[in-house]
């Protein structure tokens, strides 16, 4: 398809050329696309790009925001034990949550894929519920289930002679609880992405594998997974970014406690920047995850584009 319309009469007066140029520009698909996306681009500029650069600027100021300190805030952070605890926890939280989300999403997607088409819509809808409820709301419900004194889980477990479990009062259990809620919230996203990928795998490949005598595991390993590789990579990257930047689940469930053992970048940045009135240090904490995610993004996207070129 041509991007520019053919013009039979190229020699014309300057006025006509101007009008024609304008008309041509508007006829160009790329121009129309740009104009139509302009409102979104402006929104992104105002709500994403400007705040991002502003937080970069803030991270270079001292506590009273009166003096430029360069990388001083980062140097300060690197000397704090609590900061490294937060780095460690953010990695544990994000990596384990993404692994479990991907695993559960993959398994559930297979189950749903094998449900007859008529019932599949209902299952898809029901399984997406955790993902469509605003996390702040659903986490409040989880908070009641984990409540230190009146936990519904502990009440139920007491009938089996188990517990009470300090869901949010003990460091290990609190970490488990925040990861569990994150997995519950995020697994449906993986499920729906994987389900879409599964549907796009040509049936003939499975038929060919079956003829070759491939068992269930071999079909997964040699057909399904290679065909889903790109979608798995993109979904993992996207989820890693979102999970690293998570705030609401930890803030509502544990507020970073006990003894800071569930703090992640965003919750600690809030504690330091907003509650502690040290906005530049808070901005530095939240910016620390940018290079980590950038490196992950480079590797994953490079891998995807390499495979795209090979294909």
């Amino acid at each position: 398809m041509v991007d520019v319309t053919f013009q039979p009469n190229r020699v014309a007066g300057s006025q006509a050329r101007k009008r024609g140029g304008m008309r041509n520009a508007l006829r160009r698909k790329s121009t129309v696309a740009f104009v139509m996306t302009l409102p979104l681009i402006l929104l992104i500029l105002i709500l994403v790009v400007y705040p991002a650069f502003y937080s970069l600027h803030l991270a270079t100021l001292n506590k009273s925001m009166a003096k430029f300190v360069g990388f001083g805030n980062f140097e300060f952070l690197f000397r704090r034990d609590t900061f490294w605890l937060v780095v460690k926890q953010s990695c544990i939280f994000a990596i384990s949550a993404v692994i479990f989300k991907a695993l559960i999403g993959f398994i559930v997607a297979h189950f749903v894929h094998n449900v007859p088409a008529k019932k599949q819509r209902k299952w898809r809808g029901m399984l997406l519920v955790p993902w469509v409820i605003p996390p702040a709301m659903s986490t409040l419900a989880w908070l009641w289930l984990f409540d230190p004194s009146y936990s519904a889980f502990n009440y139920t477990l007491s009938f089996l002679g188990i517990g009470p479990i300090p869901w949010t009062g003990d460091a290990a259990w609190a970490r488990f609880s925040v990861i569990l809620v994150n997995v519950w919230y995020g697994a449906p996203f993986f499920m729906i992405m994987y389900l879409a990928a599964l549907k796009s795998v040509p049936e003939q490949l499975y038929e060919a594998a079956a003829i070759d005598g491939a068992n269930w595991w071999q079909r997964i390993w040699y057909v399904t997974l290679p065909m889903m590789r790109n979608i798995i990579a993109i979904t993992t990257l996207f989820s890693l970014i979102v999970t690293f930047a998570n705030f609401d689940i930890v803030r509502i469930l544990t507020a970073g406690g006990p003894l800071d053992h569930t703090h992640i970048f965003a919750t600690w940045a809030f504690r330091v920047g907003i509650e502690g009135s040290d906005v530049p240090l808070g901005a530095s904490v939240s910016l620390f995850m940018v290079p980590i995610l950038a490196i992950a993004a480079v590797f994953i996207l490079r891998d995807i584009s390499k495979r795209g070129n090979e294909a």
Partner: protein, 446 residues
């Protein structure tokens, strides 16, 4: 179309006439002649309490011909401190903002000094308590006007029946309604014995060890009662002292008698503890009692708010004030000051305290014996000692007297409760102290 040309002579005459007319014309006062004023007040927990401040502001606005806008900003989800941070960054927003505890100091560069109105207010209402001076003044200048709305003491609220039955303590006799406390024996030793007895009886004291305000405030008062400071008023590190060690030893004994999940408590946990009837005491303003009045009247009838136990260095109670501060970017500072004077009149303060059911506490010494605290019930007199009418205890805030910007970090990082928990969980005393010292060193960055 023809246009008449204006001569120089005609122009001068017209200008002179217009100027004369403007100067000699009578001053016509419009509906909002004194301009506009916007304020962000704290959104009160107590239903209907906002109405009192709204009525007071409207009455003043009508008299002064000022167009007012009131926003009630809740502290749930830290919405108020987020809005403060946003307005401070944008240098735009409300004219007056209700600043909680530490926020006058953290925004001191952008707040209008209000000494000119604080002088007459103090002359009329009496001196402001020490905590208000610590949090509201910088170099002797006032950064805001102490607000009664939202200001509170987080003292003990005990169950009369349970304390009598299990700890053999009659809290009503110790803090009788209408007369001075007889609480000489209400010391940390008595408190600890009572905590143990109530724990054995299955109704432990509901004191949190979490990272939110209620847990930190109790720890702050206990540390101060031992004379323990992590950072002194001059900004020197004073973590490794005997007073701090004594405080940790005391807390270690106390934690054994607290609910096992206290480390996970937030600010609502102690309220639920009292209302559910599971505990004999909590440290809270009367909001928990007010909820019990509505949801569990049989519990509310047995509640008695009273003073803190005394430690070796005195009797301290956590006091958390609010301030009404004027941003220096306000375009109507004079009107703002006039309104704050109106809101600080004894009659205005009493009206707001009554509307809050006695929850709000004025910071001024002449206003701690209002009728509302004598009359609130059930049982009658339950709030009589809430405003500290006999100055029986020193009102304080956790982490003071450290320089406020350092103390704010100690407070919000919950360094005190973390120390107590670490030591209780088996960490060596010197290791806990070294950890706290490292934290405090970090808080001193400027």
């Amino acid at each position: 179309m023809s246009r008449k040309k204006l001569s120089r002579r005609e122009f001068v005459a017209a200008t002179a006439l217009t100027s004369a007319a403007l100067i000699t014309a009578p001053y016509v006062r419009g509906a909002y002649a004194a301009g506009k004023l916007s304020m962000a007040f704290w959104d009160h927990w107590v239903p209907g309490a906002n109405k009192a401040s709204e009525e007071l502001v409207k009455a003043w606005a009508e008299k002064e011909k000022v167009e007012v806008t009131i926003d009630y900003v809740p502290s749930q989800g830290n919405k108020n401190i987020l809005t403060i941070a946003a307005e401070a960054q944008a240098k735009s927003g409300h004219d007056i903002f209700a600043m909680p505890t530490w926020w006058c100091h953290s925004n001191s560069e952008q707040l209008e000094r209000v000494d000119d109105i604080m002088g007459p207010i103090i002359a009329e209402n009496g001196a402001a308590n020490g905590t208000v001076q610590y949090l509201g003044q910088l170099d002797g200048k006032w950064l805001g006007v102490p607000a009664s709305v939202g200001s509170q003491i987080k003292g003990p609220c005990s169950r009369i029946d349970l304390m009598k039955k299990h700890a053999n303590i009659d809290v009503q006799e110790m803090y009788p309604a209408g007369s001075p406390p007889k609480a000489d024996n209400w010391t940390f030793d008595t408190f600890l014995k009572a905590a143990e007895a109530c724990h054995k009886a299955g109704v432990p004291f509901g004191i949190g060890l979490g990272e939110t305000s209620d847990s930190v405030d109790t720890a702050g008062a206990i540390f101060q009662s031992f004379g323990a400071q992590l950072v002194d008023a001059k900004g020197n590190l004073t973590v490794k002292t005997d007073a701090v060690r004594q405080s940790l030893e005391f807390y270690k004994k106390l934690i054994a008698f607290l609910p096992p999940d206290a480390a996970a408590w937030d600010d609502s946990s102690n309220n639920k503890w009292l209302v559910s009837g599971k505990g004999a005491m909590i440290m809270n303003p009367p909001s928990a009692w007010a909820v019990a009045k509505r949801d569990a009247p049989q519990v509310a009838e047995q509640c008695w708010t009273h003073g803190f136990p005394a430690g070796p260095k005195g009797r301290f109670a956590p006091y958390l004030p609010y301030f009404w501060s004027i941003w220096n970017f306000s375009k109507n500072k004079e009107a703002a000051k006039s309104l704050l004077v109106h809101l600080s009149k004894p009659a205005s303060i009493e009206k707001m305290c009554v509307a809050s059911g006695g929850y709000d506490l004025p910071a001024y010494e002449k206003l701690t014996t209002l009728k509302v605290w004598q009359e609130e019930a059930p049982p009658k007199g339950t709030l009589y000692h809430y405003p500290n009418p006999y100055k029986h205890q020193t009102l304080s805030i956790a982490a003071s007297p450290a320089p406020p910007k350092v103390a704010q970090q100690i407070y919000f990082q919950a360094t005190l409760t973390k120390m107590c928990l670490r030591y209780y969980q088996g960490e060596a005393m010197e290791k806990t102290l070294a950890w706290a010292e490292g934290e405090c060193e970090g808080f001193m960055r400027s």
